[in-house]
């Protein structure tokens, strides 16, 4: 459950009301814990959206601005009728030409780059654009914690801040780069859990020494988990950690749990293997093993797949015994939007970027190639793409992905509206 704080404002799209919007966003973001410079970045994003819409939309329209504080981040969501945004400008590869239309879009380009994350969604005739800025946190103290030695029996803990900080430090200390980077910022992990977006279970001994635990993120049908991390006690403790984690998911409505980069301690009889993802880390090849665990009975769903990917998808479903009805989707010459837009989330420390579609248009292949080029220029060695098989429109990207050199690697069941197909870019393609 997400315990985010929220404030909301509905403003007529008249340019003289711009300060009302920026003031609200800036103040709310600071109240939610962001530094002033971070809050200003969000205010800039809202300013660009408001200014653009005020100039482009008919009189009488309003913008609904929601500011949300999720503990370790603040978010601003702008909702408005119609589809007036220049989505092309949201690509990380967008360049501004020297014409009037492009100059109008320049603000969006800036806004897209000031946010840590952004997303565009549409529901009926309402479009939403959301910008997320995360708080900066100090790293963990440099001195290492004393080695873990268990005393007495283990007890299960949830969201106790001091134990979470100890857990994060132990994870970062033992697993290093194998664990997600946020573990290096214990205060951030505390806020991630307190905000309700993340969950944690830890087993600690009589002296409140944390022997192991798991962390997960999941408001949707699929939860993404990290671990199991154990600092002593071996296989049996790992099993207890996983048992405790699964019990926490009972009767929550979450359908499944995926560990994208499972630790060696993950008990194999609790999980199914989704496959391995080859990555380049610090110049050497490494594989991340993705594990999967359903939490409820899977009674099937629909997957929209381009014919070029049907064989891969069918084989993956067969291997996992997943009941899926595959529906072929391809473009047969019908009109489509000229431009595509892709969101990119980057972990520079891990040299990893994940692209996902914001908007599917006719220039997908060119735009993807530009993204790959731009990311490689930035030194990103691992370029991944997530395609939601529950969204028919996204299936149209199949040929463009293959042509650009992306190869399908894994399927994450229920991650999006449907299952998500993970592609990895490989130079030269198949």
């Amino acid at each position: 459950m997400n315990h985010a704080l929220e404030t909301e404002l509905t403003v007529p799209l008249q340019i003289e009301l711009l300060p009302v919007v920026t003031g609200c966003v800036e103040n709310a973001a600071q109240a939610f814990g962001l530094q002033r410079s971070e809050a200003l970045a969000l205010a800039l994003a809202a300013e660009e959206v408001f200014s653009y819409l005020a100039a482009k939309t008919a009189a009488g329209q309003s913008l609904r601005v929601t500011c949300r504080g999720g503990g370790y981040y603040a978010e601003v969501v702008c909702r408005f009728p119609g589809r007036a945004l220049p989505v092309r400008a949201l690509n990380i590869t967008a360049a501004v030409a020297d014409d009037e239309a492009s100059l109008e879009e320049m603000g969006f380009l800036l806004a897209a780059r000031t946010a840590d994350r952004l997303a565009i969604t549409t529901a009926g005739d309402i479009m939403s654009i959301s910008f997320v800025k995360e708080r900066a946190y100090p790293p963990a103290p440099e001195e290492a914690l004393p080695p873990f030695t268990a005393k007495g029996t283990f007890r299960e803990y949830g969201g106790e801040p001091e134990l979470i900080k100890q857990f994060a430090r132990r994870v970062a200390g033992k697993y290093g780069r194998q664990a997600p980077p946020f573990f290096r910022f214990p205060g951030k992990v505390v806020d991630m859990v307190a905000g309700g977006e993340y969950g944690v279970v830890m087993l600690a001994d009589e002296n409140r020494n944390v022997g192991g635990g798991m962390l997960w993120r999941g408001d949707g049908k699929m939860a993404e988990a990290y671990g199991p991390y154990v600092f002593g006690g071996g296989e049996e403790l790992a099993r207890e950690v996983v048992d405790a984690c699964l019990r926490r998911f009972a009767r929550t409505g979450t359908l499944c749990l995926v560990i994208p980069a499972a630790t060696a301690e993950a008990p194999r009889d609790y999980f199914e293997r989704l496959g391995e993802l080859p990555l380049m880390v610090d110049g050497s090849r490494r594989s991340e093993q993705a594990l999967y665990r359903e939490l409820e009975e899977d009674n099937g769903s629909l997957a929209y797949v381009h014919p070029a990917l049907v064989d891969f998808v069918r084989a993956a479903y067969d291997c996992l015994c997943l009941p899926r009805q595959i529906e072929g989707v391809e473009n047969l010459g019908e009109a489509r939007s000229p431009h595509s837009a892709f969101a990119a989330s980057m972990d520079r420390a891990a040299g990893k970027a994940v692209l996902s579609p914001l908007w599917v248009g006719g220039d997908a292949a060119e735009s993807l190639a530009e993204h790959v080029e731009a990311l490689r220029r930035e030194g990103i060695a691992n370029i991944l793409f997530k395609l939601d098989a529950g969204v028919a429109e996204q299936a149209l990207l199949g040929p463009a992905l293959l042509a650009t050199g992306f190869l399908p690697r894994l399927i994450f069941p229920w991650e999006g509206r449907g299952d998500v197909i993970l592609f990895a870019y490989q130079e030269g393609g198949a």
């Binding site: 998911f249 009889d269 359903e294």
Partner: protein, 372 residues
């Protein structure tokens, strides 16, 4: 006409926002297509494979379809009188509901208000916890001890805002039960301060001599409310009918929250008829269940699989693979079981005990699934 979605963020109360809807399994024809199996053996819901008793079947066949236009008896008048005769309590000591799930909601609505809590076990029938949750009341869950309800832990969880304690006897899914001595001791210690609901959905399957008959304890313990159902032993699950019994004054309070006319006429007719040949039907069903249990025990031991469940018409099996993967593998072979991760028993499945040929199919499918 406005096509705007209502402001759900402000309309939906917080305790509903954090609850996910329960999605029941799809119908057999849809599942058959999804999993590529022509026939599905449902061993997931603890239904009675023998079907309704002969008298219930005859009553259903004799029912006049033309009566579909007439409202049923709003408070199941004849059925309550029949139950009164069978159990020796007045007709007003009974409420008939659209399955036991509806009765759980009636009781919680009758006694709980904001800030109150109910107590049950962590690994038991889910509906007590669900109804409390989506009604806005806290469900305190005492962990099972040795697969059974832990009386001490439940008593320790009681506070001034505890209104109802739910005890599932025998417990679904573990099949453990409190004997009469233990139940009496628990009721004595509660000392009438809270309502104690004794859910006896599977009571008719139990043959143990020390198994308590909740119905006979109502006169001694006025805070005791007993649930029974026609879905399990009497095989009327599709008609949705169950009942509760308790002290008349307590039941009168619960009746204030009842939705009248929620139990249809066919269900009432079939339930009345079921009681007429109940003894023969129960004996036949017990024979089938006992044979199935003996067979499964032998076969599961041969496969080296830990299992438990000595009472009721189901058993629980611990698997060396994920229970949800086992579900999919078994479904591909047309066998449907209940996964237990949702019951907080990861890697366990619950299987309904049925006729030997079906149990043989289950064992063969399980062996194949584990061999893959």
């Amino acid at each position: 006409m406005s096509s705007r979605l209502p402001p759900l963020e402000s309309l939906v109360p917080p305790h509903i926002r954090c609850i996910e809807p329960y999605i029941p399994s799809k119908p057999d024809d849809v599942l058959g297509k999804m999993f590529g199996c022509p026939r599905i053996y449902r061993l997931n819901n603890n239904e009675n494979a023998l079907g309704p008793s002969p008298k219930a079947l005859a009553a259903l066949q004799a029912a006049d379809p033309g009566q579909a236009s007439v409202y049923p008896s709003g408070d199941a008048y004849h059925l309550r009188h029949k139950l009164a005769g069978r159990f020796g309590h007045p007709p007003d000591a009974f409420i008939v509901g659209n399955g036991a799930n509806e009765l759980i909601a009636f009781v919680i609505k009758a006694f709980c208000q904001e800030g109150d809590n109910i107590i049950t076990a962590d690994r038991t029938f889910a509906v007590y916890e669900w109804v409390a949750g989506f009604s806005g009341y806290e469900a305190r869950l005492a962990p099972l001890r040795d697969y059974g309800f832990d009386d001490e832990a439940m008593l320790a969880a009681v506070d001034g805002r505890t209104k109802i304690i739910f005890v599932c006897n025998p417990n679904n899914p573990t099949g453990t039960y409190w004997d009469e001595r233990r139940l009496r001791r628990f009721l004595d210690r509660v000392d009438g301060r809270q309502i104690v609901v004794l859910d006896e959905a599977y009571a008719e399957f139990v043959e143990a001599g020390d198994f308590p008959d909740g119905m006979s304890l109502i006169n001694e313990y006025p805070n005791l409310v007993v649930f029974r159902t026609f879905s399990k032993m009497f095989a009327l699950a599709a008609l949705r009918i169950g009942y509760l019994a308790g002290n008349e004054k307590v039941v009168e309070v619960i009746r204030r929250t009842c939705v009248v006319y929620s139990v249809n006429s066919l269900a009432q007719v079939a339930a009345i008829a079921s009681l007429e040949d109940a003894d023969e039907h129960i004996a036949r069903t017990r024979r089938m269940v006992n044979e199935a249990r003996a067979f499964l025990r032998r076969e599961l031991s041969r496969l080296g699989l830990f299992h438990f469940g000595d009472q009721a018409n189901y058993m629980v099996v611990r698997l060396p693979i994920s229970d949800t993967l086992a579900y999919r593998k078994l479904m591909r072979q047309g066998v449907m079981v209940r996964t237990m991760t949702g019951f907080r028993f990861p890697n366990h499945i619950r299987v309904t005990l049925g006729p030997i040929p079906v149990m043989e199919k289950f064992i063969a499918a399980l062996e194949a699934a584990l061999a893959e």
